[in-house]
């Protein structure tokens, strides 16, 4: 009997596939990709758009990572961390794309700083320079609230990423193609839990309703989307949950919650701008 067949873990290190995007991507997330600006695309607008999409992923990744070690049980702890890591991966690619499209978006750092552009964007911008929606920056509530937020966000993000398959920029298309598989799982995970909580106990249902009401008004902040709305309606119907009577919350300037989150997220990087990690 070949040893490989006795262990599910055999054969993992046969090539550089254990690096998320290949070994070269450890230093440069877009290694090997054509990062020239396609004809007809405005580099400044492209950078701005990538910052919007990247910041949404980065901020929600941080919120989900706050669950690490605190989730209701080990399995959910790992599940939420997995989603956070997928989103962090999306953020790396999109922030790097923003920096290659328009280097002027990258905040200046002291001479000799080894901080790559993606990290400069993540750790050295102030709150008012972030382009994320309010939905992702709200502080975490309970587990049910997080499930509702992931469901609403991933459903909208997946519908958007499916359309980005037609984006003129090849890097954005590649990010979207990779993200679609990740988001499909995030949506499925959240929808499964949504239905489970809705059909659970009186307490789980109460918490689910409360959580949904907290995030529901924010779902249009990147524009209303008929495809996403249809999916959400289906999930709510399967769970036997009525849509909350909450009007849309207009995109506003950031809340103080983002400032507090960034203070914690950025403090070490800012204290050591010449640090190597």
């Amino acid at each position: 009997m070949n040893d490989d067949h006795d262990s599910a873990y055999a054969g993992l290190l046969v090539d550089d596939a254990h690096w998320a995007f290949g070994e070269a991507a450890h230093d440069d997330p877009l290694a090997g990709m054509d990062t020239s600006i396609p004809a007809g695309v405005d580099a400044t607008e492209l950078a701005s758009y990538c910052l919007e999409l990247g910041d949404d992923a980065l901020v929600l990744a941080h919120r989900l990572s706050e669950w690490c070690g605190r989730a209701p049980d080990l399995e959910e702890d790992i599940a939420l961390s997995n989603i956070a890591l997928d989103l962090l991966g999306q953020a790396r690619l999109l922030l790097t794309r923003a920096a290659t499209a328009d280097p002027s978006v990258v905040p200046p750092l002291p001479d000799g700083s080894p901080v790559p552009p993606e990290d400069a964007l993540a750790f050295f911008r102030d709150d008012h320079q972030f382009r994320n929606t309010n939905l992702v920056e709200l502080p975490n509530g309970d587990f049910a609230e997080t499930i509702c937020r992931v469901l609403v966000w991933a459903t909208y993000r997946l519908a958007l990423f499916e359309r980005l398959a037609a984006h003129p920029d090849g890097v954005v298309r590649a990010v979207a193609a990779k993200g679609v598989k990740e988001l499909a799982y995030h949506r499925d995970f959240a929808a499964q839990w949504f239905v489970t909580l809705a059909r659970g106990t009186e307490e789980s249902r109460r918490r689910l309703h409360t959580g949904l009401a907290q995030v529901w008004g924010y779902r249009h902040q990147r524009g209303e989307d008929a495809v996403a709305e249809a999916v959400l309606a289906e999930v709510l119907a399967a769970a036997g949950v009525a849509a909350p009577d909450v009007g849309p919350v207009a995109t506003s300037s950031h809340t103080e919650h983002l400032s507090r989150m960034l203070a914690e997220m950025q403090v070490v990087a800012r204290a050591h701008p010449r640090g190597r990690w």
């Binding site: 490989d4 262990s7 993992l12 399995e75």
Partner: protein, 95 residues
């Protein structure tokens, strides 16, 4: 918090290069569908698997360690049951 109310599941994963599902561990989950998702999240984070089975632990009938001798000792002295007296052709895989 505790999930002691949740049943225990055993997880079997077939790796990319594996021919059969191999037991990799166990986990708690509220139902079968969630057990599959938990297994994906807990046991295939490093691209270990291409297929997962989950089965409730309480549905497994296992032999008891106390029965070890009556069950397995009698085969110990029957070396003629091993196919070591045959030459296996090189082109027969997975033997």
């Amino acid at each position: 918090m505790t999930n002691s109310d949740w049943p225990l599941y055993e997880v079997f994963v077939r790796s990319k290069r594996g021919l059969n599902h191999v037991h990799v561990g166990s986990l708690h989950a509220p139902d079968d569908a969630m057990a599959l998702r938990h297994a994906r999240d807990v046991y295939t984070r490093r691209s270990e698997g291409v297929s997962i089975w989950v089965v409730r632990s309480d549905t497994i009938t296992a032999s008891s360690p106390g029965e070890k001798d009556p069950l397995f000792a009698p085969s110990g002295d029957k070396v003629y049951r091993h196919p070591t007296f045959y030459d296996i052709p090189d082109n027969v895989p997975h033997m």
